[in-house]
């Protein structure tokens, strides 16, 4: 059987021209790299959580223990909740953009000028 290169093939482009949405495509390229880093941080956190839970339960662990770890419903809910919180923190700027839609805010400089009026 022909040898396949999983490094290159995993990241292969789908056929069809790729749309870019942000005003500057470079910003979107950077966003893609950041989101992949964010994914890997989440993966590390889940692994650390597995290690902690196994240590709590058994006091000692092996790599196989980590690979075969089966979270209970409570474990899974707690890990899911952490990931929800993590993404909410990561994408804080999107939340704030949304909140700003309804807000009648002024820049601080404008307020300063207003407050300086005698």
């Amino acid at each position: 059987m022909m040898e396949l290169d999983p490094f290159a093939l995993s990241g292969a482009k789908a056929k069809g021209k790729r749309p870019y949405f942000l005003e500057n495509p470079d910003t979107e390229r950077l966003m893609n790299i950041v989101m992949t880093l964010a994914q890997e941080v989440s993966v590390m956190r889940e692994r650390l959580d597995t290690v902690e839970r196994l240590l709590d339960r058994k006091g000692t662990i092996s790599r196989d223990d980590i690979e075969n770890f089966e979270p209970t419903k409570d474990d899974a809910d707690a890990r899911g909740a952490w990931t929800q919180e993590y993404i909410a923190r990561l994408l804080r700027i999107m939340q704030q953009e949304r909140e700003a839609l309804g807000a009648k805010d002024q820049y601080s400089e404008e307020v300063a000028d207003e407050l300086a009026k005698e």
């Binding site: 059987m1 022909m2 396949l4 999983p6 093939l9 995993s10 990241g11 292969a12 482009k13 789908a14 056929k15 069809g16 790729r18 749309p19 870019y20 949405f21 942000l22 005003e23 979107e28 966003m31 893609n32 989101m35 992949t36 964010a38 994914q39 989440s42 993966v43 889940e46 692994r47 959580d49 597995t50 902690e52 980590i66 690979e67 770890f69 089966e70 979270p71 474990d75 899974a76 809910d77 707690a78 890990r79 899911g80 909740a81 952490w82 990931t83 929800q84 919180e85 993404i87 909410a88 994408l91 999107m94 939340q95 953009e97 949304r98 839609l101 309804g102």
Partner: protein
């Protein structure tokens, strides 16, 4: 976890990936590969419940008012709405994140399957070798509607073989559906098929199909629950993609479903099957990946293949109608323009009843109804009860359009 333990509300997010059913054909998947899918399922859920509502709010607050101000009139159609949204930062960032998440999902799944390609392909070969329930046609011409663009950004689409006997594309599709839907399709990604089978049992209680045809079956995740619900029926599942069919048969056998044949073919011309040889023809989320010309041929072909009194059912997202706000239509078009589903926008704007009538189905025999994914509610989120998440076009609740072939009708 101590930080998150403080003051947490009841968890209502996607389940952990480990609830996904790992049948005998499932790839080996490591702790960290699972964690990657967990993150992506959460990202999709976050985007649909926390970011996308902001797009709707931005539309009301500034996109529509700005358009009315500059043009002095309302939007005429969904394309004007979409083009106006494309200039709004919230739509831009939601779209950029949604596209990135889809591409990350493909990369995550492809990595899992490609790093063990030789093992997976060998396993599928062993499980299907000499089994006459797999009929492949290496000379099949792949229709333009498949070859033009890789649907839902899945590199290689349904048909590409990276190596002889390849099943990796199909395995990637299977293991990643959880992430795209946030678990809404259930343990074996079969919540749609289960819903169709239950719809038929409830609405057609006396129907005892002997032969069932599933067109555009992919890896068969929607047809297996139908085959399980009608174990005495002979089920034929057709697709253009050989990797899907090889994996599909191996997966069906691993799950103990033995009454499905997987056949490679173009469903607009299934000459190998005789007139009036099926009681039921089914398609599930397939028509939107075809074309107007092939859809007409497919409707005519389903009518030719149906026995008198037989039924054809197509499961799709709802059609765009005058009752659907232009904003919703534009949002539903997102997958068409930005997730490589080109025919989606065209298919959803036409009168499907007229297409069915043109194929010869009597107008008074046409069926319209709705179904929502049926999953184990103890473990998986239920689309039917989920009003919070309107993930335009991706919600696990669908429209059924179908028709009975009148008894005494001659084959066309």
């Amino acid at each position: 976890m101590s930080d998150a333990d403080c003051g947490r509300k009841t968890y209502d997010g996607p389940p952990d990936y480990r609830v996904v059913g790992r049948h005998g054909m499932y790839p080996d998947i490591s702790h960290d590969e699972i964690a990657r899918f967990n993150f992506l399922a959460q990202m999709n859920r976050h985007l649909s419940t926390k970011v996308m509502p902001g797009v709707s709010e931005a539309f009301d607050a500034r996109v529509e008012p700005a358009f009315k101000k500059s043009e002095g009139r309302d939007f005429r159609d969904r394309h004007e709405v979409r083009k106006a949204l494309l200039r709004d930062p919230l739509f831009q960032w939601w779209s950029a994140l949604r596209r990135a998440t889809m591409e990350q999902r493909q990369q995550a799944g492809r990595w899992v399957t490609l790093r063990q390609a030789a093992t997976l392909n060998e396993k599928a070969a062993q499980m299907t070798e000499g089994d006459n329930r797999l009929s492949l046609d290496p000379d099949l011409k792949i229709p333009r509607y498949v070859s033009a663009i890789d649907h839902h950004c899945m590199p290689g689409s349904y048909h590409t073989e990276l190596t002889p006997g390849d099943v990796t594309g199909a395995a990637n599709y299977d293991i990643g559906l959880f992430a795209t839907t946030g678990g809404m399709l259930g343990q074996f990604n079969d919540g749609g098929g289960v819903a169709v089978a239950e719809w038929v049992k409830k609405n057609l209680p006396d129907f005892k199909p002997k032969r069932i045809l599933d067109i555009g079956c992919g890896l068969g995740h929607n047809v297996l629950p139908i085959a399980q619900a009608f174990p005495d029926a002979e089920v034929v599942a057709v697709d253009v993609g050989a990797p899907m069919l090889r994996y599909g048969l191996a997966r069906a056998k691993a799950m103990g479903v033995d009454n499905v044949r997987f056949v490679q073919g173009d469903v607009s011309k299934l000459a190998e099957f005789e007139n009036e040889s099926f009681d039921w023809v089914q398609s599930t989320m397939f028509l939107h990946e075809t074309s107007y010309s092939s859809m007409q041929q497919i409707f005519a072909e389903t009518r030719r293949l149906l026995k008198p009194g037989g039924v054809v059912l197509h499961v799709e997202q709802p059609q765009y109608s005058d009752d659907m706000p232009l904003f919703e239509q534009a949002m539903r078009d997102w997958d068409a323009f930005y997730n490589n589903e080109p025919f989606w926008t065209k298919m959803h704007e036409v009168d499907l009843d007229a297409y069915m009538a043109k194929a010869g189905f009597a107008k008074d025999g046409i069926i319209h109804d709705g179904v929502a994914a049926i999953v184990d509610p103890a473990v998986f989120p239920e689309a039917a009860n989920d009003d919070e998440q309107e993930d335009y076009g991706r919600k696990a609740a669908w429209h059924v359009i179908g028709a009975f072939k009148e008894t005494g009708a001659a084959a066309s």
